[in-house]
Amino acid sequence: MTTVETATGPAKTMVLNMGPQHPSTHGVLRILLELDGETIVKAIPDLGYLHTGIEKTCEAKTYSQAITLTDRIDYLAPLSNNLGYCLAVEKLLGLEVPKRAQYIRVLLAEMTRIASHLVWLGTHAIDLGAMSVFLYCFREREEILKIFEMVAGQRMMTSYFRIGGLALEPPTGWLRAVDRFVRMMPGRIDDYETLLTENRIWMARTQGVGRINLQDAIALSMTGPALRAAGLAYDNRKLFPYSSYKEFDFQVPVRTESDCYARYMIRIAEMRESLKIIRQAMDKIPAEGPIRAEAPGIVPPGREKMKTEMEALIYHFKIFTEGFSPAPGEAYVTIESPRGELGVFVASDGTPKPLRVHFRTPSFVNLQSLPKMVEGQMIADVIACIGTIDIVLGEVDR
């Protein structure tokens, strides 16, 4: 505790414990707030309530088995994590994924971005007192989850991207469902904007709140929509393209206000850009073609082959019993997850189990700038700031 000067003389500050069971912390985040009245003098985030040792567990699994763990890091964007991890292992192996699989990956990754932004918008709005937006957002997210279920057989823990390609051939007619969604969604985004963008209460709660200047943001390694709202068009899809992103035409929304409102506007614009990418991907995906790389001993053979070819059966057995061993070395891949830069570091020592898997998760790194955003602001602004950093505690604590 420190002593502060007030109108009536020196006074002591008060320490308030926010969380870990506070609904607006989006999980189990605890923040120690040192307060002078309602003004924040100091904020100290306390993490680890959801730490499950995923990185340690990865070291005890084969490369393929670890995919299921990546879903559980960021449970609101499982396919982005699948993609990051698969790309890292593929880089380690020097595997080239067929174009058809790459386009399907792009389409689903952008669907994930919309689904994740919808959960963000809904929960952020409910934190600031706009109840109805939450219901609309979850209605649309449900449509996306139905498409995920159609393709992967799972709504949330998809594990659909595998090393070398995809787990399954997508079902016939799945693109019709995507098409319905893509037609419906722009109007729905307009609806959210009608409810919020020029809403006076919304603007009062978010404009000028949680400012951080660009220099501080870069110094604190902040990435994603928050960095783009501070005026820098840093997007891994453009700067370091992966999975054929350079063939797609889309904009990277940038704003300069760097407040909660700017971050809201960026994410709304990003949903529209994602729809653009999805439309292009729908045209690009060939009707037929391989969805897995041809790599015996690494990528499991098709069911047909397994029943007719001796070699294929042996490979299948070997992949699922002992796994495969990449040459010793390291690979680091960064992708643009809905929350920012997701980096996956994989180190191999030449055995079937990774020597080290590390996830550079955007939530963990971005959360570090929370104190900078809220110090000097009011206590109610903390909630707006946590909302616009868009953290997922599973990803923060891993």
Binding site: E55, P328, G329, E330, A331, R356, Q368, D397
Partner: protein
């Protein structure tokens, strides 16, 4: 297998060498990723150089993490993944840290974002960072014994 690239030394390494010939122990290249191995005592000054040199500008610390090569020595390997936003380039800076004295300089003065990353490495690997203003455990409880990401820490936990 990572190997020394003799014929074409990457620009980053050349720049560091021209600043201080001892700054680059070796340069590794693997699948297009450049790794510059820097001696432990030059970690912070090399980091400053990488950030401030106008032809390098590695201003974003994307990630920092550790690898435990137990029982080999030096046991720990710190990997700093740097991005130069303006030059669209990435590089990995690596520092070897021995197991009997796991201490390295903190780079929080160069990239403040390293603060939590170093706390995480301290928490899970037990590598200490001198010059870090707030080196506490970050993910595990304060009274936790041991450092779980070390290779000699069993997966099922210590009994």
């Amino acid at each position: 297998m990572a190997e020394n690239s003799q014929q074409s030394t990457p620009v980053v390494a050349e720049h560091l060498r021209s600043w201080n010939p001892r700054a680059v122990e070796s340069v590794l290249e693997f699948h297009g990723e450049i790794t510059i191995v820097v001696p432990r005592e030059l970690l912070r000054s090399a980091a400053e150089r990488l950030r401030d040199d106008s032809s390098l500008q590695f201003n974003l610390l994307s990630d920092m993490t550790c690898v435990d090569r137990f029982p080999a020595e030096p046991r720990f390997e710190l990997n700093y993944h740097l991005t130069s936003i303006s030059r669209r380039e990435k590089v990995r800076m690596r520092v070897a840290v021995p197991g009997d004295n796991p201490v390295a300089d903190s780079v929080t003065s160069v990239w403040p974002g390293a603060g939590w990353m170093e706390r995480e490495v301290f928490d899970l690997f037990g590598v200490r960072f001198s010059g870090h203003a707030d080196l506490r455990r970050i993910l595990l409880p304060d009274d936790w014994e041991g450092h779980p990401l070390r290779k000699d820490f069993p997966v099922e936990g210590q009994r």
